[in-house]
Subunit: 239 residues, 2 copies
């Protein structure tokens, strides 16, 4: 199933005890529809407050209900901040996480003197005027196969920190600056750490060269702060 | 002052006892800043759930605080669903309502099989597929100086129901159908009643000619239902 959600009121994708989660709500409603316990596998675990336009999940069931009927039943039971965009039967060994080839995330920054209003739950509000050309110039070095250790969350213990970024596009529409990043995989907090550093470049606090040197340094303590979850959105997963 | 707000959590613009209102919140916060009771006059009273991108209000004060300082102080005190876009001193006899020359409202319809997600608080969800060309064809008769009695709220006692609609534009972007109407004045529920009838034309339930005959009939009972408040937004007021 492909689903979209607003992450504002959830403690993230993964089921846990300290608040409602996307996985928890989905599994509960699916259990009601299919009349049995359901385990959902997501393409990745979005953090608390992170949104999705095209998260992908899979589950196994012996229930014969057609996928489209499951989708309709779910959409009528789910809260208004979660929506199943599509559902289909697939091969038995499909795995939403391990079968994923690459993913696209967006990060949205609202860049004005006045705070955002209508889209306030979906953007990070940055008052400092950002120079998009500087950010684009810096972001060029991200594309390709690199060791992204400098952009990994502090304390992570992933041994292989090499990933391939296929594109990192920045564009502006009115006060909205959007950064689109597609990669074959993302380290924990990788997009938010990249964006946090790009903002320092865009606001002029960092020289472009400082950003460009980060990949070679392989040291998280040199990168900028982690940009807030509110601006992040998992846009699409490719298989 | 020009302000924007999301009307979802308000009992409308006008101060009243059965819930928070835009006027009530504004007057309370202004009173704190200016240290005296403030009476606010709005360009019009938007209903419960109706939004604004450019509502205009005025108030009188002997306080010498510059308008821009008042704006900043207000924006830091106001809840996140109300924003002062601009503020300026003006002539003493300016009246946000009586000085207004014309206004533009938008009405937003989300037209898809799947319900809306990210913009769900700002659109009326219509599942029936709408034929925009039919709606445009019907809307042509609205433009000009007419007696809009058929589109006045039932029970209204306004004697002069003649208004001039300067334009009524319909356009579509993805699943979003937007109707923009500018007029020198609006009867109570006029936009929502026009939209309710246009939707009947767009979904094929009404022949175009039925809509076109409404103005001449001058009978509210013949027009379609009042479209919900959620899709309406006061976009701009001209002086």
């Amino acid at each position: 199933m492909v689903l979209a959600y607003e992450g504002t009121n959830y403690a993230g994708f993964q089921r846990q005890s300290n608040g409602p989660t996307i996985q928890g709500v989905l599994e509960d409603k699916l259990g009601m529809i299919l009349n049995c316990k359901v385990n959902i596998i997501g393409s990745g675990r979005t953090d608390a407050g992170v949104h999705a336009g095209g998260q992908v999940v899979n589950f196994k069931t012996v229930n014969q209900l057609p996928a489209v009927k499951i989708q309709k039943a779910l959409n009528s039971l789910l809260p208004e901040d979660i929506l199943i965009r599509s559902a289909e039967e697939t091969v038995l060994d499909f795995h939403a996480r391990y079968s994923a080839k690459n993913k696209t995330y967006s990060y949205n920054i609202y860049n004005d003197e006045l705070r955002p209003l209508f889209n306030r739950n979906f953007v990070y509000y940055c008052r400092h005027q950002l120079d998009l050309e500087r950010m684009k110039n810096a972001a060029v070095v991200l594309v390709g196969r690199h060791d992204f250790k400098s952009f990994q969350a502090a304390g992570s213990i992933v041994s292989n920190t090499i990933r391939t970024i296929h594109f990192c596009q920045l564009h502006q529409a009115g006060f909205l600056v959007t950064i689109l990043i597609n990669a074959d995989g993302f380290l924990y907090h990788m997009v938010r750490n990249i964006v946090g550093s790009l903002i320092l470049v865009g606001s002029g606090k960092w020289p472009i060269e400082k950003f460009k040197s980060l990949i070679d340094k392989k040291d998280r303590t040199l990168a900028g702060p982690t940009a807030p979850a509110i601006g992040l959105c998992l846009e699409e997963v490719f298989y």
